[in-house]
Structures are given as C-alpha cells and as structure tokens.
C-alpha cells in the first residue's frame, strides 16, 4: 500500500536473520527492535499469523497481505518479559495470555493480563517453563469483565453444553432477549499438546498433530508434515502431494456439508440436516474405502502419506463427485428459497470487514466479511498452483454469507477432486506407498501455512539432530475467529446464538491445544 514500509524493509533494518529457518526468514530482534516493530505494526496492514513462546524467547509471525511476504520475528527475553503486541494487534492478546500460562512469559502493557488456558487445575504453574512452579494454594475465581447498566442480566452457559459439542464457557449479558455482550472463557480442553510434542520423535509428534482438532485432522497433519519437511529440506513424492490435496478437499467437503445442515437445524429446519448428513456420511465412507479411515486420521505423515488409493479408488471418488453434484444443488435451492430460513440467517451475526481484517481472521469467517485470503493461493503450496479454483468472497458478513461461502467452497472442492483424480501422478518406482524416509542427523526450523476447512493453520517446528521435536507450535485458525464471535452476537437475540456459533464453528480443541 502507498506510504507503507515493506515488511522486509523494516525487518532488515531492525533485526538479524537467523540461519536454517525455512521456507520464510526468521529475524532476531533486540528489545529496541521489538519496540520499533510494534510502532511499525501500528501503521501497517500486516496480518499477525501467530505468536508463541519458549522458555526464554517469544516469536511472532507476520504476513504483508499485499505482497504475500511472510516472516518470523524473535525476541530473547531472559527476564521472561516482552512488550505486548495486543494494543496494535488485538488478536495477539489471547496468544500472549497462553504464552504466559505455559511459559511464564509476561507481556508488558498488555490489554488484558488474565490467565487463559490455566484454570488452576493442572497441579503446576507455567508447566513448560524452565522452572515450573507449585500451584497457588487458594486460587480465586476467574474475573469476568464488568458490565453495568439498567435492566441487564447475565446468562452463564457451559462448559458442558446442551448438545454433543465441545466444552467452553459463554457468559452472556442481555437486556431482555437482546445480547449486549458475550464473553468467552475457553481452555477447558487443554490437553498439553505442545508439551507432549517436546522431545518426541517426528513420527510420534505427527500423531499428536493429527489429534489437535479431529475435524481438521488432515489439515493439521499436513501443516505439521510440511513444517517438518521444510525444516529438513525434504521433498515428498509427487503422488503424495496430490493425494494430500485429495484428502484435504474431502475433509473440507465433509465438514462444510455437516455445518450447513447444522446451521439450518438450529433455525428449526431439520430437513436440511437430515439431507446433508447423508451426503456427509457418503463422503466419509468414500474416504474410508480410499484411505482406510473415515476421517483420514494419521494418513498424512511427514515425508508423504501413509496410505495410497486402492485401485478402485479413483472410480469411487468420481462416483462420489457425480452423486454430490446431483444431490447438493437441489438442497442449495431449498436453502435459498425458504423464507423461514432466510429470516433467521440474513443480517444475523454480522461481522464487519474492518474487524476480520484487524484480527486477521481466515476461512469462511474472513471470506464472508470480505477478507480475500486463502493459504492454498497465498502463500500457496503444491499442487494448488497447478489446479484451477476460485476463492469465494462475500461482503455481507452475516450467517447467510458464511453459509454461502461454504456452499461455494463445496462446489470448488468437487471440481478440485475431479482435477486431482484426472492428473494423479503414478507411484514412484521402489516405493510401496508414496513417502520418503526422514533422515536423522539433520535439524532445523520450519514453518507451514495450510488452509483447513476452517481457515489458515500455522505450524512452526524446531527439530534437533536426532530427529526429535524440540518445540512445535500449531496455531489453529480458531484463535482469530473466536474473538469475532463475541462481536457477531452483539445486538442479536439470545436465540440466534446457536446460529451464529454454528456458522463460525470454531474449534475448541484446536484452540485449547
């Protein structure tokens, strides 16, 4: 943009590049440099891609949206303190709180210092720091933000919700039926994934990565695998690259189908759920026949894929595409034509373009509010550079727009599957299934950006010479979408919350880690 300094221009002035970080550069900054970075951020459109801690350092990743340049910056903080980014990038706040809870890093001048993942239940404080501490003897209750005003009442919901869903706490403040404020409290499904990955061989850590968020198991496995492959400079067989994309698109279709039905179901239109859940089941069964697992868990591994298509696989996939092409459009026509549905979804749960941009929200949440960003296209990765697809973008920012983005994405993914099946490279000679062994004796740092059905996943990994993970940070897209759900529900009625929530469908497990 005019008048803005390029990202690399600033970083080259204030930092020194670190060796062995792939495929994007990493810069080490001093404290002064970090403060100048914060100043630079205030005047720029760079998106925050992630922020994560280590015992004595903090890292953040950025993208200059205009050029697509990506960089990581690091600050050593031997005293465990660093200046907060939250004032200039509000999306950093929860990540900083998480870094504090896990590593004891203090974000100075933060906009919100409350704990986030730590609920005083672990039996230890700052578990991943060099010196974990004993728990506080009598922890006080979590303080919710104050609300004042006439006629306001609060509705606490969760962590155990009324449906088959993940746990989290929502605190609604309402005036009559109208929601004035929603405050989320998450962290209930924190399983300590980052801690468990530390010191594990890559293959074991990959199994943990596959379980960060079960609905995005392919995408998270892919992000982890690509980060490891970047760190080690490994090239995977061409067939594996294409099979991975195939699995990723199947996963996208299955999830969007399930969510479209669930959103309609929450608008008391159960017919759609009955129909789309049948289509979803069809996708899962095809995935099962093709890759041996309905969700395709543990099928994408560092070095390639763990399962190849059986001989009849391509036939099954083309049948699936044909059936969805036949059965999905009539359902879309019904969705579009039912006044009772439109009445609930149009203008409900509005999120502005400004807000999705400020938070760098991706996936259908960002794209339904005009943020034209898709990791498959920028930074882009194989084989998508050889495939034709469109990224649907709308500007209405309501539940209806998020449904339509999903509908369009299903259509695009069907076309992608056809293209992939038509061009799937043959298996390389000498391999029984398409993957290459990972060599020990090489370490390095790698990062990957991968588009899940929910949005962009960032995974950063550091490997030692023995082939073990010394630090891995997987950042689920939900981190930047959850805060916007709080904004989406404001001014709507309480009964519209399920619709807003389902149209986002943020991951609890992926966020809580």
């Amino acid at each position: 943009m005019y008048g803005e300094e390029p990202l690399f221009g600033l970083l080259n002035r204030i930092g020194t590049p670190v060796e062995g970080h792939q495929p994007w550069p990493r810069y080490r900054l001093g404290r002064d440099g970090w403060l100048r970075l914060i100043k630079g951020l205030a005047g720029n459109g760079w998106s925050l891609l992630g922020l994560w801690g280590e015992p004595k350092a903090v890292h953040a990743a950025f993208r200059e949206d205009f050029s697509g340049d990506v960089a990581v910056v690091s600050l050593d903080c031997p005293q465990g303190r660093f200046p907060s980014l939250s004032a200039v990038r509000p999306a950093a706040n929860r990540l900083e709180r998480a870094a504090h809870d896990l590593y004891g890093l203090v974000a100075e001048r933060t906009t919100d210092p409350r704990p986030w993942l730590d609920h005083d239940a672990w039996g230890v404080r700052r578990p991943l720091s060099e010196q974990p501490a004993a728990p506080v003897p009598n922890p006080g209750p979590y303080t919710f933000l104050p609300v004042e005003g006439d006629g306001l009442h609060q509705i606490p919901v969760g962590p155990v919700h009324a449906g088959i869903i993940e746990p989290g706490h929502f605190r609604f403040t309402a005036n009559g039926e109208t929601v004035v404020r929603l405050e989320e409290r998450l962290g209930y499904v924190h399983r300590g994934v980052e801690g468990l990955m530390q010191g594990r061989p890559v293959a074991e850590a990959a199994r943990l990565a596959a379980r960060i968020s079960g609905d995005a198991t392919v995408a998270h496995s892919l992000a982890f695998a690509r980060a490891v492959e970047a760190a080690l400079g490994i090239e995977v067989p061409a067939r594996a690259v294409w099979l991975r994309a195939l699995m990723a698109e199947l996963e996208r279709i299955a999830n969007h189908l399930g969510d479209i039905g669930a959103i309609c179901n929450d608008a008391a239109f159960a017919f759609m759920l009955a129909q789309t859940s049948q289509l979803r089941e069809r996708v899962l069964r095809t995935a099962d026949s093709c890759f041996g697992h309905r969700l395709m868990m543990d099928r994408v591994i560092p070095g390639g894929v763990a399962a190849d298509l059986p001989e009849r696989g391509t036939g099954l996939l083309l049948e699936l595409v044909a059936e969805l092409r036949r059965r999905f459009p009539p359902l879309v026509a019904i969705y579009d034509g039912k006044a009772s549905l439109q009445d609930r979804t149009v203008t409900t749960g509005f999120v502005s373009t400004e807000l999705v941009t400020r938070f760098g929200a991706g996936g259908h949440v960002g794209r339904a509010s005009g943020r034209d960003q898709d990791a498959r296209r920028s930074p882009g990765y194989a084989p998508y550079d050889e495939l034709a697809f469109e990224v649907p973008v709308l500007t209405e920012g309501d539940v209806n727009a998020r449904v339509w983005v999903r509908i369009r994405e299903v259509e695009q993914s069907l076309s992608l599957i056809e293209q992939i099946v038509a061009r799937l490279p043959a298996i390389s000679r000498g391999l029984d299934h398409p993957s290459v062994p990972l060599e020990a004796g090489r370490g390095g740092e790698g990062m990957a950006l991968v588009e899940s059905f929910r949005g962009e996943i960032l995974t950063w990994v550091r490997l030692d010479g023995e082939g073990a993970v010394t630090r891995c940070h997987p950042r689920d897209p939900s981190w930047f979408q959850w805060p916007l759900l709080e904004a989406a529900i404001g001014g709507n009625i309480v009964a519209d919350f399920p619709l807003c929530n389902k149209s986002f469908n943020c991951s609890y497990a992926g966020h809580d880690l």
């Binding site: 993942l117 609920h119 239940a121 672990w122 039996g123 230890v124 578990p127 962590p159 155990v160 009324a162 449906g163 088959i164 869903i165 993940e166 746990p167 962290g187 209930y188 499904v189 924190h190 399983r191 300590g192 801690g195 468990l196 199994r207 943990l208 379980r211 960060i212 968020s213 079960g214 609905d215 198991t217 399930g258 017919f271 009955a274 129909q275 859940s277 049948q278 979803r280 089941e281 899962l284 309905r294 969700l295 868990m297 009539p330 019904i334 034509g337 039912k338 991951s507 609890y508 497990a509 809580d512």
Partner: protein, 173 residues
C-alpha cells in the same frame, strides 16, 4: 422441496438395515438392540454426551449416529440435553484436568440407575495424552466406568455395538 418430500415418502427409508440392508452386521445389530432395549428399559435409553477433553473426532462419529443412515432413535435411544434426563453418560477425551470437575458434577447431576460409557481410545486409556500435566488419563480414574468402546474414533457401528453390549450387561445386573 416438495419433490424431496415426495421422494422421501415414496423412496422408502434411507436408513440402513431397512429394506435393502447394505450392511448385514448393522442389520443384525439392529434386531438385537431392539429386543435388549425393550427388555431392560421399556423402549427408551437417554444418553448425555460429555466431552472431557476430546479432539472432537469422537463427537463427529457420535453425531453420525443421529443421521438417517444409522438413525439411533429408531431403537429408542436418544441424546438428551441435560444430565437430569439421562440414563447414560457417554464420555470422550482423556479427561483434561480443566474438565475434571465439570465431568464429576455432570455425573452427580445424573439420577440413578445410571451407567457410564468411556468412548474412544482417549477415554479408555488416556490415549496419546496420558502422562502429561494437563490430563488425568482414562475416565475410570475419575468415575466408575461400565463400558469401554475403543477406537480413534470408534466407528458409528462400533458405537452402536457398544451401546448394545451395555444394554445386555445392565439387564443381567
């Protein structure tokens, strides 16, 4: 829409194990489950699902039980919104420590007689998450477990088979 309703009315059920059983195992299971369910609980069994730290993979397959293909409700088994309405708690996940208390409170809120089913490898053994600072481990370390359904995640047919096993053991009690 009308066309869809007509097709649904004239096309026969999509539910598996109905006119043209695509999956004989499921068909057999359907018959057995029906009988056992009646013997023990009249015609109904109410399940409250609790995610105690799952990756949400298990939840996806539990959801699938409600789709018209598995159609759990035809056996009189249904998912309910409150533990106060439940006979069974179906628990997933390696019991995240942050969820431990909520799980216990949900169990306490469930009226007897009640059963607890640990669903998925995480709930059965702690899975990959056992031993970390953030998880307790298997559900049985927190509450008495009546039935374990392994799998990561268990397939919908495994879940159905598991619920049948529960009905048979509880009938024998």
């Amino acid at each position: 829409m009308l066309k869809h309703i007509l097709t649904s009315l004239t096309g026969g059920p999509v539910t598996e194990a109905a006119p043209a059983p695509a999956d004989p195992a499921l068909a057999e299971l359907a018959g057995k489950l029906d009988k056992a369910a009646k013997a023990r609980l009249g015609r109904s069994l109410s399940i409250r699902e609790v995610d105690a730290g799952s990756c949400n993979g298990c939840e996806l397959e539990i959801h699938a039980l409600n789709n018209p293909i598995y159609d759990l409700e035809r056996f009189g088994i249904r998912f309910v919104a409150s533990p106060r309405h439940a006979d069974v708690l179906l628990v997933t996940g390696p019991v995240a420590r942050n969820m431990r208390e909520a799980l216990i409170r949900t169990w306490d809120a469930t009226p007897g007689p009640k059963w607890l089913v640990a669903c998925g490898d995480c709930a059965v053994s702690g899975g990959l998450f056992a031993g970390g600072y953030a998880c307790v481990g298997p559900v049985e370390e927190v509450l008495p477990v009546d039935l374990r359904i392994p799998g990561c995640p268990p397939r919908p047919t495994d879940l159905l088979a598991g619920l049948l096993a529960l009905l048979e053991t509880s009938a024998a009690k």
